[in-house]
Amino acid sequence: MRILRIRIGSFGRLKDRDMEMSPGLNAVYGPNEAGKSTLRSFITTTLFPKSKVGYPTPKTSDSGSVDVLLENGDRVTFTKDGKKSNGVGSVLCGIDDKEYVSIYSMQPEDLRDVDRLENGGIRNRFLTIPGGGDLPGAYEAINSERTALLPDGRRSPTCGITRLVDAENNAARRVRELQNRESGDNRYSELVRRKGELTAQLESAQATFDTADKNRLDSNAFAHRAEDLQKLEALVEREKALAYSENTDPSKLEVLDTDIKNRRTVFERASQKEDACRTALEGRDPELYMRYKKKIEQLDRFSADYEFYRSSSVPAEAAPASRGGLPMLTIAGAGVAIVGIAVAALVNVIAGGAVAAIGAIIAVFGLRSRGSAPAPAPAPVRQDNDTARRMEEALDQVASVFDIPRRGYHADVRTLMDGLRTSESYREAASELKAAEASLKQASDARELFLSGYKGEEGYRRAVADSKELISVRSQIEALRASTSNVPEAPVDTDTAESAYSTAQSNLSALKEELSSIDQALKDIGGDTSVEDALTASSDASDKVYDACYRWARLMMEKLILDKASEEAYGSHRPEVMERADGFLSLMTDGRYSMSTDPRDTELAIVDRGTGEKKVAKEWSSGLEDQVKLSVKMAVSLSLSKEKPPVILDDILLTSDSGRKKAACKALAQLSEDIQVIYFTCDRETRDFLASEGASVTDL
């Protein structure tokens, strides 16, 4: 894409301008404020409307057009009308507006901005081989971990592996120290030897002790024999004195007392029962009751028929029936008649008479019905009345004998019967009491008889105590007889024996104590885990070293693989853009510098052809920086798009010295063979250098 003609109606301070451009190198010259930057802005925002060049401020009155010739020979006019433009440079060139400003349309500050080169897709596409764009990141990740483990240059005391190796050496030293401390098995061996000696000595000391102990006991026994014999004699005498108590039953008295106690309880219960009966009889003589028993029982038996015999108002014929039960109809009829008579007398003569008549009829009917049944033998009515009277008389007689209060036949008979039964209980209780009394006496007599054998209770209790002592005395006699019967003649006197015993005991204790401490020492050595712990620590430390070394070696191998891969890849696929940039830089620096094409570089770098020294951005002068970045951007501008948009440079060489300006102009002229270049400058020298390189010059 090459600009052929620019027409401006109004844009910033530029009004009614019409200028033609050469398809190759163009120089637009004018003093400050002549409108060079405005013209660059007009072209840029017309072709790439979204570009933010910032100056001048867009206005609705802006107008103009740019005629361009495309690579395919088409001629297109892009028009600015107010704040809008129909420019489609972005679509035609396949780059965005920011890339256009960063690579193609630059002021000095745009030239120095390489963000788009180093961080965007441009680096991967043009400055390295495919996939190489992230090589520096990969290297950084690998090398930071790898060199932290082990640096490449000099050995570092603080690096990971060195510290782990030191720890391993320390742990191994600790193991050696502990093992040297143990000095093989010398100490253990000495302890075992000493233990053997002590064990033998202990055996001998034990035998000596046993003998001394026996001697001591023997001498003591012999010394005490006479005393023991005297003691024996006294005990024999005592045994004789106690012999009487030999068969004393220590629990016999207790048994007898318990028996008495039980019998007394029986006696007391019988006595209470008798008292209760006597109280219930209220002073009446129970024997009198017994004498009248038959009579009272006869009165009681009569009690059931008493009412019948006593009823003298009942007709004689009815009496037997009544005994057997009057017909209910007769009774009901009589009842009704009585009620009828009462009603007639008191309330209504007619109604009452009627009721009485009905009742009479019913009663008669009832009597007739009865008369038709088989009749029982007629009872001697007159005789029954006599019986009642006789029984009453008998009752009167008995009641007066017992002087009971009179409350009627039945109540009186019940009172008499109660008295009779209480009297019977009384007789029974009296009998029991008598038997209990005899039993209690018998038990008391037995106790008394038993104690009489010991002359009383005190004597018995003494005999019990003596019988216990007798057992003890006999046991002592037996022991003393045994101990005194075979006492040998003492080999040494008591003092000598005691002294020998004490010495033997002391020796034995000392040996046992030493043996115990040796056992403990042996146990301590056997159970000492310090060597084991040190071995474990040493093993762990070694493990960590091996782990770290393996990790380092893997990272080193990864680096070696990447080194070899990048070397081979760049050897066979050197990026074309870097070749071109190298050419431009060489041209601008008179062959002194070339571009570094090492894919491991993380930023743009150059190589001093004279010294071979690589220089990165921070080592460049500002002039050299402009040259490097311009070279790279020029190279990129040729490859970024097939429809190459014009390169528009706004006095980017203004601060460069004459030599750099001249060299740059040569490079721009070379660039313009492939892409249109429009250079705006207020610098006469630059204008002339460009003109001498064949640039078409436009003076504003």
């Binding site: 081989i129 240059g153 143990e182 159970g527 080193m556 070696l560 693989i561 891969a565």
Partner: protein, 395 residues
């Protein structure tokens, strides 16, 4: 040789030896590791008491450093408990004796010296001969096997610590050395992996060590219970290990979540084992696992109760490495560069890795990995890690 009898053959007890390669700073696990060799040997003695007539131990009862009073007292005490004849030789690790004077073995233990000797035991009326020879120091280039001979007509067990088929300093010998010596059973020690070099006439057997001590000694460990009937030998391996080290491959291929991956390996993890995880395969889990491999190990440990470490991380994104190597991207170059390193020998790799001045200090440690062929694994891990970094960065 018509008698019938049974004996135990074990070797490489390494009592008190420490375990490597699991997480540090876990005292309970450390204690479990430490006790494991003792526990395994205790089981062997139990087995011997129940089923064997005698025992042979083919060297390396202790490590150099671990022959402490505790370990020696333990062994002496177990031998006393065993009470039946036990024949032992020393190996390269226990050639130097400590505590032998003060903590002697009980009289049922017969220890062979640095010269060949023979013992005869009478088993139910029939003599059985045991011959053996011990290491005299931590190394020997002597062919100790060649020095042993049995007795014609008597079943003979040869006990020796040696390395078959190498020229190293551990009593090197060849298979031919075992033949024609009137020895019917060669009880070997030194190699920690169980190997039956020859089943009969004569039987030549390495029982392996009795307890694995790191993930490279994975699988069941124990002793051989050797039954001899009419001169015919049948050897049965009896596992006695206290801790089982287990290598488990976790294949991320076709797995969408870590949960799926964990579920796929759970069945392969025996209870109470120590797991060394090899993460292999291709798929989307490559990235999250590479970002936090320890996190995956912790999750498996939480779910299984088995201490777990990542042993190898050789998984990749869902890419075909062979195809990738044919491209012209940096990742392609990485694959090819990794392959070129992979084709080097362990020694060449060691030289390549130790290319800086300070790395001379770590070379001796890396030689251990080179000796065990681990540097090729290391190259593969580094290659795939580098590929993942480059591909992840390029997205």
């Amino acid at each position: 040789m018509g008698c019938e009898f049974t004996f135990i053959h074990c070797a490489d007890l390494h009592l008190g030896s420490r375990c490597w390669g699991s997480r540090h700073d876990d005292p309970a696990l450390g204690k479990r590791f430490y006790e494991s060799t003792f526990a395994s040997f205790r089981k062997i003695v139990d087995l011997g008491l129940a089923r064997a007539d005698f025992m042979v131990i083919s060297g390396d009862i202790y490590d150099e450093l671990t022959e402490t009073p505790r370990t020696r007292l333990f062994f002496a005490s177990e031998m006393k408990r065993f009470s039946k004849p036990c024949f032992i030789v020393t190996g390269n690790h226990d050639a130097r004796h400590s505590w032998s004077e003060s903590i002697p073995y009980p009289p049922n233990v017969y220890q062979f010296g640095a010269s060949p000797s023979k013992y005869r035991v009478n088993i139910r009326g029939t003599p059985v001969e045991v011959t053996g020879i011990s290491f005299d120091g931590p190394h020997t280039d002597e062919n100790l096997v060649a020095k042993l001979r049995g007795s014609p007509g008597v079943f003979t067990v040869g006990v020796v610590h040696c390395e078959v088929g190498t020229a190293g300093g551990y009593a090197p010998c060849s298979m031919e050395d075992f033949l024609g010596k009137d020895i019917q059973y060669w009880a070997l020690g030194h190699i920690h992996k169980r190997m039956v070099l020859r089943e009969a006439e004569p039987a030549v057997i390495y029982p392996g060590n009795i307890q694995g001590r790191d993930i490279s000694e994975s699988g069941e460990k124990g002793c051989m219970l050797v039954h001899v009937d009419g001169g015919n030998v049948s050897a049965e391996f009896v596992p006695t290990q206290e801790i089982l080290w287990k290598e488990v491959a976790a294949d991320i291929t076709g797995k969408a979540t870590l949960g799926e991956l964990i579920a796929s390996v759970r069945a392969e993890i025996p209870s109470d084992s120590i797991i060394g995880l090899d993460i292999v395969g291709r798929g989307p889990l490559n990235r999250p696992i590479r970002r936090d491999p320890a996190g995956l190990a912790e999750r498996i440990e939480e779910e299984t109760g088995c201490p777990t470490t990542i042993r190898k991380l050789t998984c990749t994104d869902d890419i075909d490495l062979e195809k990738l190597a044919q491209g012209e991207t940096l990742a392609s170059a990485v694959v090819k560069a990794g392959d070129s390193f992979y084709n080097m020998s362990e020694e060449e790799l060691l030289d390549a890795i130790c290319c800086t001045a300070p790395s001379k200090d770590v070379r001796m440690y890396l030689e251990y990995f080179a000796k065990h062929g681990r540097l090729h694994d290391l190259v593969r891990e580094a290659q795939l890690s580098a590929v993942s970094r480059i591909l992840e960065g390029s997205e």
